[in-house]
Symmetry: C2
Subunit: 347 residues, 2 copies
Amino acid sequence: MNGSHRMSKRITILDLAKRLNTTPSTISRALRDHPGVSKSLREAAKSLARELNYQPNSVASGLRKGKSYTIGIVVPHINRDFFSNVISGIEDIASDNGYKVMICQSHDNEEKEKQYINTLVSARVDGIIVSLGMNTEDCSHFEQVLNARIPLIFFDRVCEQMDVSRILNDDTEGSFKAVSHMIEMGYKRIAYFSGPEYLNVYRDRKNGYLKALQNNSIEVDKAIIVHHDLTQETGWKAAEKLMKMRNRPDAIFSSSDFAALGALLYLRENNVRIPEEVGIAGFSNEKFTSLVNPALTTVDQHSNEIGTFCAKQFLEEVELNNENYVPRKIILNPRLIIRESTKRIKE
Amino acid sequence: MNGSHRMSKRITILDLAKRLNTTPSTISRALRDHPGVSKSLREAAKSLARELNYQPNSVASGLRKGKSYTIGIVVPHINRDFFSNVISGIEDIASDNGYKVMICQSHDNEEKEKQYINTLVSARVDGIIVSLGMNTEDCSHFEQVLNARIPLIFFDRVCEQMDVSRILNDDTEGSFKAVSHMIEMGYKRIAYFSGPEYLNVYRDRKNGYLKALQNNSIEVDKAIIVHHDLTQETGWKAAEKLMKMRNRPDAIFSSSDFAALGALLYLRENNVRIPEEVGIAGFSNEKFTSLVNPALTTVDQHSNEIGTFCAKQFLEEVELNNENYVPRKIILNPRLIIRESTKRIKE
DNA sequence: ATGAAAGCGCTAACAT
DNA sequence: ATGTTAGCGCTTTCAT
C-alpha cells in the first residue's frame, strides 16, 4: 500500500549477532554486561542495539528464565484513595528493586477477581498482592497461586483461612477509638453501618464498635446496626431509614467513608444539623472526607505504609525462593482523625 | 525441610499428554476446543487439566503466537477520577473482547513514563493507550512503539506531532463555556490557572478562556494568568498571590479541579466569600468538586466514554493488523456543570 | 573470550 | 483425528 512505510521486522539478538559476525549468546551476554565479554564487542553490541532500536523481548526471556519481574496487584477499585495509596507504596519499593506492577481491578466482583488471578498465574508473575472484593466469600481461587508456588500476600481484606502473609490494620482498635470518641462527645445512641461479616475488616470493625459501647455500658440496639454494601447510595438510604425511626439515633458510625458520605448528604439535604443533632464518622480517610461540609471524622489506615510493607514482604519471599519462610502477619495501628462532623459540644 | 510440603512442579501440556498417552499438540488443541479433536479426548484433557490444576503458560503461548492479549495503559495518576474512569471504560470493552489491561502510573514523571513504555514494548503488549505526563515535552520515546508496530492511542494529553489516533475533548470549547458562563454571572476580572503549554489540553483550554474574554470585549490581563503545575498546593499559593493584588480578580478559572480546590480552600480560610466576592471554576469534574463547600463549577470530560472510544479504536487497529488504517481523531464535546461556586446573582 | 546446542512451554504447518 | 516437527527469542550450560 504505502511502499515507503517502514516494514521493520522486530529486531532480535540474532539480527544483532549476524551484523556483528558473532552469535546470539555473545550478544545476550554483551547486552547484559556479563563478565568475560570483550569491551569492544560489548560496546559494539550496545551501540548497534540502540541504532536499530532493539527492544529485548521480555516474553522470551521470561519464558527462559521462569521469571517476569512483575508483581500482580488485585484490588476492588483503583479510584479509592486507600487502594491507590497502597498501590503507590507498593510501586515505590517494587521499582527500586527492579520489579514492575500489573494492576487489576476486581470491581468487587468475585468472578472478575478469579479471572484476574488466573491471568496473573498464567502470566507467571513473580508475586501477587491482593485485597479481596466485597463479595468474595470463597477463597478457593487462591489455592492455585500457592500450587504455582507464587508468593501471595493479602492486605486489608484477607482470606483468613489461608496460611499466607497479610498486612492489616487493627480494625477493631480503629472502630473502638472512633466510637469511644463519639461517646465522649456526648452521643448516646450511635448507629452503625457494617459490611459483610465474612470479611475480616467488617467483622473486626463491628467488634470495635460493640466493644466501645460495652466499655461505656451502652446497650446494643440491633435496630440501629445496618448491614449493606457501604456505597454512597446505600449510605444515603440507610440514613433515611434511621432518621425516620421514632427513636432515632443521634450519631452514625460507618465502616466506610463512602457510606458515611451518603449519610452526610442525606442529613444535609434534610436539614439535620451535623454535629449538633447527629454526629457522623467514617473509615479510611478518603480525600473527600476532609473536603465535605462538615469535614468528616474518620480513621486513617496508613495506606502508603501498607503498600510498602506488602512490597517488602514480597521481596523477602521471592528472595527465599518461596521456601522456608513463615507467613507473617503485620498489624498497624490506625489513627483517628477528628473533624467537625463529631465535634459536638460535650455535655 | 518440610517433607510433606507439596513439591509440585508446574504442570505443562506435556505432562497432560504423557498421562493420556498422546502428544502436546493434541492436548493443546483439545483444551482450546479446536475442531477435529475427538470428544472423548477433549473431555479427558479438560478434566485432567482441572484435576492437576493445570494453568496454561501465557508467556509461552504469547511467545509462540506473538500476541499477549494485553493492553498497556499509561496514565499520570490512577487516583484521579478522570483517569480511573477512563480506565474503567477501557476495561469494560477490553474484557468483553478477551483482552486484559496492564495499568501503569507515570506519576507525571517523564522518566517513569519512558520506562513503562519500554516495559510494555518489551512485554509485547498488543496495544498501548496513553495520556501524557505533565512534564513530558519530548515524545521520542513513543517512536519505538510505532517501530514495534504496536497500535498506539493517545487520549486527553497527546503527542501532537505523532500520526496516531487520539481521543480528546474539545478543550477550547470546554473553557469557553465555563468562562462565558462566569462572564454571564457578572464576573468582570477572571484570573486563569494554566498548565504547561506544550501540552495540547492546557494550550486549548487557555485559548478557550481567551476566546471567551474576547467575545465579551474583556481585555486580557497577563498579570492574572498564572502558569503552574496545577496541584492543590500551587493552586492555594496562586490564589494567595492573586488575592493580594491591589487590583484583585473577582473570579478564578482553573484548568484543573485540583488547583481550583487549592484556591477554594485559600479563599475559604481567608473568609473571601464564594461566589459573591470571588467566583471559581475548575476542569474535569472530579468527584470532590460536588462535595466541597461551595460546590465547584467544573467541566465534565466524559471520562468513561473516552475510555470506551480508546478501547474500540484499539480493537479496530489490531483487527487491521496495524496496517492500512488511518489514524483517527475523535473529539468529544465537554459539558459545563454549573454549581454554587459561580452562582453569583447576576447584576 | 566466544561458540554450539539445548530448552523454557506452547502452537501451527504439515504430515498421515 | 492425531502425530511430527519446527520455532517463537532468549539464556545457559558446556565446550573450545
